[in-house]
């Protein structure tokens, strides 16, 4: 007979090992690197905060960090705002929920890269969008503001992340006891008030989950900005990638990664706290 404690350890061992080797260890290496400095060919392992000083004083880093957070925030808001009505429809109105949920996951059947390329084809100078608009005679010459800017990044990311927003919101709406909505009606609420006073506050956990799921990975995305972002759409991850690649400055890259992580964490915590307290204030 093995004890409960042994059983528990055995059961959690795979996860512990996984997290240990693939999360904690790389993170420790990252922290170590951020305290070292790059010389021409080797890494100087004397601990120093020089990288942090450089990161904080360089206007390019600050600019890219702020832009990354703003783009990610825009993507998050746009995606959640579009996802909520869809999730609401599937959870409360649709008759074939499973079919709808399946349809929503269809974009995932192709790779992320292919989807980004598809947007490139749609938004490009000679792309689908411009050809269609020209063909319809709505414009005389191709639009140039469609691709290689922040707009293209937001559009592409919002499309890519939509299912991740729909699903948690769907679950939170699905969980609402329908008699609560009837009770709100019974107590005098019209549809709009009922939504604001019952449905919305009860789905805040789903909204928060959706926001975090989208916001956190989006800040660090570098594929989309490099493919459709042009020079205006570059984000912090592109700079980090350069440090580990062309610039060959791993310590600065590690520092930027950690700073990006901390900024995201800070913004995320701020968001969770403010939205829960806002939810509590709805009566």
């Amino acid at each position: 007979m093995r004890s409960e404690a042994t059983k528990g350890l055995t059961l959690s061992a795979p996860a512990t090992l996984y997290v240990g080797f693939l999360v904690a260890a790389p993170l420790a290496i990252l922290v170590a690197y951020s305290l070292w400095t790059q010389t021409y060919v080797s890494v100087d392992r004397t601990p120093t905060l020089a990288n942090y000083r450089e990161a904080f004083t360089d206007p390019l880093v600050r600019h890219l960090m702020i832009r990354s957070i703003l783009i990610a925030a825009t993507v998050t808001i746009a995606t959640v705002a579009l996802a909520y009505p869809i999730a609401y429809f599937i959870a409360l109105r649709a008759e074939r929920k499973t079919l709808w949920l399946l349809l929503i996951t269809i974009p995932f059947w192709s790779s992320y890269l292919l989807r980004v390329f598809a947007w490139k084809l749609i938004l490009g100078f000679n792309g689908v969008m411009n050809s269609a608009l020209l063909g319809l005679g709505l414009i005389d010459e191709p639009l140039t503001f469609l691709l290689y800017n922040e707009f293209a990044v937001v559009l592409t990311l919002a499309h890519a992340w939509a299912p991740f927003a729909i699903l948690p919101i769907y679950v939170s709406i699905q969980k609402i006891d329908l008699s609560l909505l009837e009770a709100a009606t019974d107590l005098g609420n019209g549809p709009v008030q009922r939504f604001l006073r019952v449905t919305l506050p009860l789905t805040i956990p789903g909204i928060i989950a959706a926001c975090l799921i989208i916001f956190i990975p989006t800040v660090g995305d570098y594929v989309t900005p490099s493919l459709v972002g042009g020079s205006d759409g570059k984000m912090i991850a592109n700079l980090i990638q350069v440090q580990f690649g062309a610039a060959n400055n791993w310590p600065l890259g590690a520092t930027l990664s950690l700073l990006a992580m901390m900024s995201v964490g800070f913004v995320a915590i701020l968001f969770v706290l403010s939205s829960t307290s806002l939810g509590r204030r709805i009566r």
Partner: protein
């Protein structure tokens, strides 16, 4: 209670596709009465209640509340409030905000809202629990919050959908009396839907019994128990022994019937029975039967049988007696005065019945 009709249902019908949930429902509810819609699950009673509340529109017929036609008036504008079966307490609000929920829709001053919430909570004996979270409440407290939340709106009619079904037996019995007292104090019309006959009988001024979407009988509880209008109601409310009987003579208010085991009896005609004929069915409540070792004297009908089963319920004992000429054993109930079970299975026994306690149930619908 006044003579004014607060709710009138006229030929109300509700169809869902091919299924008719409620058909031709005609009912007048008096102001200030406690009315119960009683019936087995799926009989249409909840649908009827929801049509009064406005959650469902009738497919045909009219609903009047306080003389006003409710057609096209949505649930949020009707002078009714509802206590839901699940109580539907808003989980994101504390007790005080749950109770204040409806008042906040009416543009009432904050001080008045606070005062009315306090009063409502005291009324349901939850005084001072305003700050308690909705998820920290027991089943009974949730029921009280639901009641306070609806009553604080001062509705013309309070609708209750199986309000006690989620509570355990002891609490349910206590709440039956509390709700009855509350209703009498406030003088508000209560319309309750329930499948529990005891609940309906202990609380209601009148009961309407529904079967298969139809309202079959509306009466005060004692009348319903003593003069059910057909076999369905007789078996749904309380316990009943059913026996076939043949009518040999009919005169005014009385019938002379031949029974398979109690001989020839002169019984009272049941005015509630719609269909009657030569071959009728009669009912005898178990507690109306005398059971003894010797042949009982001064009884209109007697029969000898054998005890087959004994069921001990605490407050009374049920004997199932097998009698010649009757297929099913006859149940007789004896109050447990002396804490003894006097008869054992296999004992020979006599049953006695007075003809006044025999209920005419009209035409025999089972077999000839």
């Amino acid at each position: 209670m006044t003579e004014k009709n607060i709710i009138q249902l006229q030929g109300v019908e509700k169809r869902f596709g091919n299924f008719t949930a409620v058909s031709d429902l005609n009912l007048d509810l008096r102001e200030g009465e406690f009315f119960s819609l009683l019936g087995p699950s799926g009989c249409g009673k909840t649908t009827a209640l929801r049509m009064i509340a406005g959650f469902q529109e009738p497919s045909a017929g009219k609903v009047f509340i306080d003389g006003e036609d409710m057609e096209g008036i949505p649930a949020n504008s009707r002078p009714t409030n509802m206590v839901f079966q699940s109580y539907a307490i808003f989980p994101h609000l504390n007790v005080g905000n749950n109770v204040a929920y409806g008042l906040r829709n009416r543009g009432i001053a904050k001080s008045e809202i606070d005062q009315r919430v306090t009063e409502a909570l005291e009324m349901v004996e939850l005084g001072g629990l305003q700050e308690r979270g909705a998820t920290e409440l027991s089943g009974g407290q949730r029921q009280r919050v639901a009641l306070a939340r609806a009553l604080v709106m001062r509705p013309k009619v309070l609708l209750l959908d199986e309000p006690l079904s989620a509570l355990d037996k002891k609490l349910r019995e206590q709440m039956q009396f509390e709700m009855r007292h509350l209703q009498q104090e406030l003088g508000i019309t209560f319309v309750m839907v329930t499948h529990d006959q005891y609940e309906a009988m202990t609380m209601s001024d009148r009961i309407g019994v529904m079967f298969d979407g139809r309202l079959v009988q509306v009466d005060e509880p004692p009348t319903l128990y003593a003069k059910p209008c057909n076999r369905n109601i007789a078996s749904f409310i309380g316990e009943m022994n059913f026996l076939p009987a043949h009518v040999t003579e009919e005169n005014g208010k009385g019938l002379t019937v031949t029974t398979p085991c109690f001989g020839i009896l002169d019984i009272e005609k049941n005015p509630n029975v719609a269909q009657t004929g030569r071959d009728i069915e009669i009912g005898i409540r178990p507690e109306q039967l005398e059971i003894s070792r010797e042949k009982p004297e001064d009884y209109d009908g007697t029969v000898q049988g054998k005890v087959r089963d004994v069921a001990f319920y605490g407050e009374n004992v049920h004997y199932h007696v097998q009698v010649d000429g009757v297929e099913k054993p006859i149940a007789a109930s004896v109050p447990n005065y002396f804490h003894t079970v006097d008869h054992r299975p296999g004992d020979p026994i006599w049953l006695g019945v007075q003809s006044t306690s025999i209920i005419d149930l009209g035409q025999n619908t089972i077999k000839s």
